[in-house]
């Protein structure tokens, strides 16, 4: 471990008036000749003795990447003076898996399986953003069946609640409140059970597909939803009773991790952090997609600009999501049994087979297998071509931004007219929002760093991709 972070700079910025980070140059000059303590292989006591003899309290500490409270493999480089953080920087990249590069070597449909693994707590949102972008490229945005859109909204809102619950649960656990964690995970399980019932998987679902969704709701799903919503609402009440007026929690979160509206705008922060400054910015209202304009819900804001406000916003948003889930359930029940399709009508794009649960697991429905194997050679060829070759997407580019639980999730896809994405780029909200760590933490206590980072709710799978 080196206490002096080094940057290999290719282009030394001109320290003129245009340099927005002029202080960093000043810091370099100030730290010239400063002592660098090397902790590698040495005795920690020697280091302490050496630091004590200098009469200096200022040291640089790496918090992470293996620290349990840094949300996975986030590395925080903190310069501390006693208990006070004087400088904070975030180091990322420890979970970089090259998903975007990999997607360039698979068909458009296979890309869903990759991007769902980016932010693993919000799989539905990456799938939705990616599929909406492909649909924009194909020009079939208006051809998506109504039922598919309602199912998408339903799945996204369930995922939003489960993501917020993780944020609260792990955030609480990091502050020492393990009961918050157990309650949150218990409630999340109710949602995951329904998600598993619909998609077959708890996470990494690959359920939303270009043109619609992978399959219709299974029998009994509406009942499960009707049963789940009041239970989750009760659980949220329990969380609220535990958190809202808890003096310890308020002592830890009120006026911690403060970032005002100007700071949010400068750093491009979106999501609950931005809404905690009082700006009701929500892409579901501002730039609706999947028919969000037809649902009745509110954008929750607070004006405290701190970690406590963000926590309350997340709780309030979960109630709003439950409202949307109820409305979506009503609509799905109304259109049930009408053989309403959940896939676009264009057979050159739509996935040929609906999945069905057989005695040996999930697979192509028996009706479909009977057709392609027994009656229609053309169906077989069509199925084979579409699954192995995929569909071609006209050349061009598209960008779609949607409101993920963490902020604006953007997807920029470029096609060269082939069967695979020429480039797929995801603008992950956590990646952008982590830039606020320095602004939120500098000048505060070390313990507040944990709370401030938890209030951003970063997921490194999405940050590093």
């Amino acid at each position: 471990m080196s206490t002096h972070t080094e940057f290999t700079q290719t282009e030394v910025p001109d320290p003129g008036a245009n340099d927005v980070y002029a202080t960093s140059v000043a810091d370099e000059q100030a730290s010239e000749g400063a002592h660098v303590f090397n902790a590698a292989g040495g005795d920690w006591n020697d280091l302490v003795d050496e630091a004590t003899s200098l009469g200096e309290e200022r040291i640089v500490v790496n918090m992470g990447p293996q620290h349990p409270s840094t949300h996975g493999v986030l590395r925080l480089i903190l310069e501390i003076d006693g208990e006070t953080v004087t400088e904070a920087r975030a180091g990322i990249g420890y979970l970089h898996t090259g998903i975007e590069k990999n997607m360039e070597y698979r068909t458009w449909v296979q890309g869903v399986t990759f991007c769902t693994r980016m932010d693993y707590l919000t799989p539905m949102f990456q799938e939705a953003a990616y599929c909406l972008a492909i649909e924009k490229l194909l020009g079939i945005t208006d051809d998506i069946p109504e039922r598919a859109n309602v199912i998408r909204v339903l799945m996204m809102e369930m995922t939003r609640i489960s993501s917020h619950l993780i944020c609260l649960g792990t955030g609480g656990m990091e502050m020492g409140a393990t009961t918050v964690m157990t309650v949150a995970f218990r409630e999340r399980e109710r949602l995951l059970r329904v998600i598993e019932m619909v998609t077959g998987l708890r996470m990494n679902n690959a359920y939303i597909r270009p043109g619609g969704v992978a399959q219709d709701l299974p029998p009994g799903c509406i009942d499960a939803l009707r049963e789940m919503v009041p239970e989750v609402r009760r659980g949220l009440g329990e969380l609220e009773a535990l958190l809202n007026e808890n003096p310890i929690l308020k002592g830890r979160t009120v006026d911690v991790g403060v970032l005002n509206l100007a700071g949010c705008m400068a750093l491009g922060i979106t999501g609950p952090v931005l809404r905690s400054t009082g700006l009701p910015h929500d892409l579901r209202k501002l730039d609706p997609y999947c028919g969000y304009e037809t649902y009745d819900f509110e954008v929750k804001t607070r004006t405290s600009q701190d970690a406590y406000g963000r926590l309350r916003i997340r709780i309030d948003e979960m109630y709003e999501s439950l409202k949307i889930i109820e409305q979506a359930t009503d609509r799905l029940q109304a259109s049930e049994g009408e053989h309403a399709s959940v896939m676009v009508a264009d057979k050159k794009i739509a996935w040929p087979a609906q999945l069905a649960l057989g005695s040996d697991g999930l697979g192509n429905s028996l009706d479909h297998i009977r057709e392609i194997m027994g009656t229609s050679m053309e169906s077989l060829i069509h199925h084979f071509k579409l699954v192995t070759e995929g569909f071609r997407v006209p050349a061009g580019q598209a960008y779609v931004g949607i409101e993920s639980p963490k902020g604006e999730l953007g997807c920029h896809v470029v096609s060269d007219g082939g069967t695979r994405p020429y480039r797929a780029h995801f603008r992950d909200p956590s990646f952008n929002n982590l830039q606020a760590v320095a602004a939120m933490c500098e000048g505060s206590q070390i313990a507040d760093v944990i709370v401030a980072v938890a209030s951003i709710d970063p997921v490194m799978g999405g940050v590093d991709r």
Partner: protein, 259 residues
């Protein structure tokens, strides 16, 4: 996207059925037909059906040659709020370092999205007007996405910025800047949009575009001593062949596949 959609919706046809005689999809046929305002631009040629180009053609599809067409420069009116944005940008640039005609190479309206191609030396001036002009007021830039087109000589590397205006009800525009591969420099807009800091570092890391004026342009996702820039098309995907029941499956980038 509200108004812009209506304009371009009709331009895009979902049907990707291949026209047997020319090998063009119907969308490409439509683009190829002489139609205003967007004259299509040929950006490349596609040969055969499969990605593998080494060795003799054993597939029988080698004779299939298709141009890759993308929407070209649009003529006014662009439709929707796009004309207003262009007007305001033109007015906002007056008195600055560059006029609209100097800064903007062309405007492309495609699929309900407006792309302003800006010459790289004037990017910062354009970004400043986009942020500061009250009639434009794009508060948020949602990062920069690099794209590598090895076959477009003189503009191999593209940096694509997406702007969002909350003040004006969720208007979005795209600004695209290109640079040649042997002079990979694009000015940084971090001085205007501090949010772009990490995004530019990522694009440098993945594509090797140097953003001049960035305060600390270092790698962000790859290790500091990593050679090469992984998202470039000349950088291999990597991977090892996998043996399964005696047969060997090559890594994804070496398999014969449709392209």
């Amino acid at each position: 996207m509200s108004d812009g959609d209506k304009n371009a919706k009709g331009d895009v046809v979902a049907d990707t059925t291949t026209d047997q005689s020319s090998g063009l999809t119907s969308h490409e046929v439509e683009l190829a037909q002489d139609r205003t305002p967007a004259e299509p631009e040929v950006v490349g040629v596609r040969h055969g059906m499969f990605g593998a180009t080494a060795g003799a053609d054993t597939t029988g599809y080698g004779g299939l040659v298709r141009p890759i067409l993308v929407a070209g420069a649009s003529e006014r009116p662009y439709g929707g709020y796009f004309d207003e944005i262009a007007d305001n940008l033109e007015r906002g640039l007056v008195g600055g370092t560059a006029s609209y005609a100097e800064a903007v190479d062309r405007v492309v309206v495609d699929r309900g999205e407006m792309t302003i191609h800006v010459r790289r030396e004037h990017l910062v001036a354009v970004a400043r007007v986009l942020r500061d002009d009250a009639s434009l007021r794009f508060e948020i830039v949602t990062g920069v996405s690099g794209v590598h087109y090895p076959n477009r000589s003189g503009e191999e590397l593209h940096a694509v910025y997406h702007f969002l205006s909350i003040t004006h009800g969720g208007r979005r525009i795209r600004v695209e800047v290109s640079c040649p591969d042997d002079d990979r420099h694009i000015p940084s807009i971090v001085s205007v949009y501090p949010a772009n800091d990490w995004h530019e570092r990522e694009t440098w890391d993945m594509f090797g575009i140097e953003f001049d004026g960035h305060p600390a342009l270092t790698r962000i996702l790859m290790p500091d001593d990593w050679p090469g820039h992984p998202q470039r098309k000349d950088y291999p995907l990597g991977g090892i062949p996998v043996e399964y029941k005696g047969a060997t499956v090559p890594p994804p980038d070496q398999r014969r596949s449709y392209n």
